[in-house]
């Protein structure tokens, strides 16, 4: 009797091809998700930096002390939404909705302990924690959630 390898190759292809496609789709989506994590984190970092950098030079010259503006938390929220806009097409909610629901706290005096994170700040600080829902359509193809929620954290202090 002669061996016929044709069937073995077909079975191997049938098993390996879907597996390879699943891995490829998963890797591509994870890569896209990593890029969005980077951009959203950068947006949060810039927002908190902008919020704590609000300083009046005349006041600084007079007292020598950097003070957070009373509206620092609102400024952080506003600039987080503005900087998140560049990523808007990939998000499952509008940048303004995400910024509105973000937990933004201003700690004008130092040292102080953040009740949410337990972190100790030795200078006035603005802290932002946001849940960012990201569309993950490729995950949906793999029967995983179509929206993945990322948690972004950022804290900045003036120097």
């Amino acid at each position: 009797m002669r061996y016929d390898d044709g069937g073995t190759a077909a079975v191997t292809t049938l098993v390996m091809l879907p597996l390879l496609l699943i891995v490829l789709v998963g890797v591509l989506e994870l890569g896209a998700l990593r890029a969005i994590v980077y951009r959203a984190t950068a947006a949060a970092d810039l927002a908190t930096i902008v919020a704590v950098s609000d300083q009046d030079q005349a006041e600084l010259t007079r007292t020598g002390i950097l003070r957070l503006a009373p509206d620092a938390a609102d400024v952080a929220r506003d600039y987080f939404a503005r900087n998140l806009s560049a990523t808007a097409p990939a998000l499952a909610a509008s940048p303004h909705e995400i910024a509105e629901t973000a937990d933004v706290a201003s700690f004008p005096s130092a040292p102080t302990v953040d009740p949410r994170t337990g972190a100790t700040y030795d200078r006035p600080t603005v802290r932002l924690i946001a849940s960012v829902p990201v569309k993950t359509p490729a995950f949906a193809l793999l029967l995983l959630p179509a929206v993945t929620t990322l948690t972004i954290r950022s804290a900045s202090s003036p120097r």
């Binding site: 810039l46 950098s53 806009s85 560049a86």
Partner: protein, 131 residues
Amino acid sequence: MMSWRDDESGMATLETTLMIVILVPLLFAIIEFGWLTQRWLAQDGVAMQAARYAGELGGDRPELRVYVQEHLRLVGIEPSRVTVEVEPASVSWRQPVRVSLRTDEQIAVPFLFTTSVAMRSTAVARGEVNR
């Protein structure tokens, strides 16, 4: 005598040709898109830093242009290929300032396509100094 049906010497060539036509574009697509994403994120980082610096300087100043060029070079992007826009050109205290960078990158995937992709990065900061 062996009939032509039993001669499998051409099969390996055929399989190799088919695999090259599939695998080479796949490999180049992974490399090209990975490279593009890396450039894009690097450009994003420069835009963020530049926006903050623009807020500190008070808008579109020659120092800002030099800063952007230096940082683009540091991340491996040729500055002459990047369009930089700063709005508004002059920013006062607490006013938003937007820095946008745009680069047209070429992507070439063998057997499939060669195209130009516009990479845009935008960051918004605000005037930091009360002059």
